[in-house]
């Protein structure tokens, strides 16, 4: 049996066009041995969720620098529930004020990585989170 690779969608919702951060994270996760599905810019929450489902992703990482993080996190997490895919981990990063983080975690976000986080921290967290998720899986 081949190794079960971690598959993660890296997406940029909304209209801000700065994807350097998303690309740096995508690259770091690639170097950690994961398969990173990169969607590109200006994705709607619906596109991101459908992509994650078709790709059988373990996780969705979203990068937001526009300030609309509360909206996008709640929308994406809500859509996942609607599609019975709430087991897919949602995490993110970008310019998100510390004060807003507890509310996002409350909503169901797995983790928020702010600017300056070493990419290895993100990769290691994701590896652990996916291992825990898979341990719970029935199908």
């Amino acid at each position: 049996m081949a190794e079960k690779k971690i598959r993660v969608v890296i997406a940029k919702p909304g209209l801000d066009g700065h994807d350097r951060g998303a690309k740096v994270v995508a690259r770091a996760l690639r170097d950690a041995g994961m398969e990173v599905i990169y969607t590109g810019l200006r994705q709607t929450p619906e596109q991101i969720v459908d992509t994650a489902i078709q790709e059988d992703a373990d996780a969705i990482g979203i990068s937001i620098l526009s300030g609309a993080h509360a909206y996008y996190f709640s929308k994406i997490i809500g859509l996942l529930k609607e599609r019975h895919a709430e087991d897919i981990i949602v995490f993110g990063g970008g310019v998100i004020p510390d004060a807003d983080i507890p509310a996002l975690l409350e909503m169901g976000a797995g983790a928020i990585f702010g600017p300056g986080t070493p990419t290895t921290v993100c990769a290691e967290w994701l590896e652990k989170a996916v291992a825990e998720k898979r341990a719970k899986e029935t199908v």
């Binding site: 049996m1 081949a2 190794e3 079960k4 690779k5 598959r7 995508a26 690259r27 996760l29 690639r30 170097d31 950690a32 041995g33 994961m34 398969e35 990173v36 599905i37 990169y38 969607t39 590109g40 994705q43 709607t44 619906e46 596109q47 459908d50 992509t51 489902i53 078709q54 790709e55 059988d56 599609r83 019975h84 895919a85 199908v139």
Partner: protein, 322 residues
């Protein structure tokens, strides 16, 4: 039948996506599911899109999806990108160009890493195509990794292979070379708004003239995928090729060749697994040492280990028969 297979056949996208993962990860359950799904395969038009990196394959696939959707056909896409030989990770980014179809319930797009395969597709791409076919996609498009001259596994998977070229890739000698140029059922010269299109088209024509008069002479289409120019004609050409396969003996031969290839590939894979399993059980380490110290040669060792594997399997079969 497995619950997952049933759900997928009923159109459950999550189940379908999960089955592809099971197969990709070579889990035993995946093989069982393929056995159940196999009788449902054989209806889809399977198209391969191959060509060098940056030739515009993903953009073209995006436009081809749109064209088939206009005709009311459902579409599955398998887009293959390379895995890192070092970390095993991959950036799978073909679907960036196709994201406008992400919410269309009749379009299913799946990205795959090559995971060590060198033929332009991954080891499980064939199974992924079979799964999409069984689950009712009318058209299945396989986009290979960006290829060079000899990654031609796509020919074992697709009914209709489109080779995407662009102007300015080299002289006529490149076009005369063996390998990738020989597997095209259709030629596409993309980025046809750039200089040098006529030259490429002429060179392909001259190359085809040298072959003589085959039953199917690969047509040449010029496209500007960005703008969608020429895509309607290209899709017409794909349908034409399918008709040709159906009406001529070539189609049946090709299908049979595909089946033979699939069975052989599965056998090779199983034997390779047995070799891995048995490696340590046959004192291979001792042999390695002997070869390393030039006391034995690798051929003798390989044959003797193979003999052991075969006789061991015979014993096991004999025991289970009784």
């Amino acid at each position: 039948m497995s619950v997952l297979a049933e759900r997928a056949l009923r159109g459950d996208v999550r189940a379908l996506a999960r089955i592809i993962s099971l197969v990709e990860n070579e889990e035993p359950e995946g093989e069982e599911i393929i056995k159940h799904l196999y009788p449902h395969t054989g209806r889809a038009l399977i198209i391969g899109i191959t060509g060098s990196p940056g030739a515009g394959k993903s953009t073209l696939v995006d436009k081809i999806i749109a064209e088939f959707r206009k005709k009311g056909r459902t579409v599955g896409v398998i887009a293959v990108d390379p895995s890192s030989p070092f970390s095993g990770g991959a950036i799978l980014a073909d679907r960036i160009r196709m994201q406008r179809h992400a919410n269309d319930p009749e379009v299913f797009i799946r990205s795959m890493g090559t995971r060590g395969s060198l033929g332009g597709v991954s080891r499980s791409t064939r199974e992924a195509v079979e799964i999409l076919d069984a689950c009712g996609k009318d058209v299945v498009i396989i986009e290979t990794v960006g290829v060079g001259q000899s990654e031609i596994d796509i020919v074992k998977l697709a009914d209709t292979v489109c080779l995407v070229l662009v102007p300015g890739m080299g002289d006529d000698i490149q076009i005369m070379k063996a390998g990738i140029m020989e597997i095209a059922d259709l030629f596409v010269v993309n980025k046809a708004d750039r200089p040098g299109v006529e030259k490429v088209v002429t060179e392909i024509k001259l190359m085809l003239d040298l072959i003589g008069t085959p039953d199917w002479r690969p047509p040449i289409y010029t496209t500007v995928a960005e703008k969608g120019d020429g895509v309607t004609e290209l899709v017409e050409g794909m349908e034409e090729h399918r008709k040709f396969l159906k009406q001529s003996s070539h189609g049946e031969k090709r299908m049979k060749d595909k089946v033979i290839q699939e069975i052989k590939d599965i056998m090779s894979r199983e034997i390779a697994k047995k070799i891995e399993h048995s490696w340590e059980n046959h004192g291979a380490d001792v042999h390695v040492k002997a070869v390393f110290e030039k006391e034995m040669d690798p051929y003798t060792v390989a044959h003797s280990i193979l003999k052991n594997i075969i006789s061991e399997n015979k014993l096991r079969e004999g025991a289970s028969e009784r």
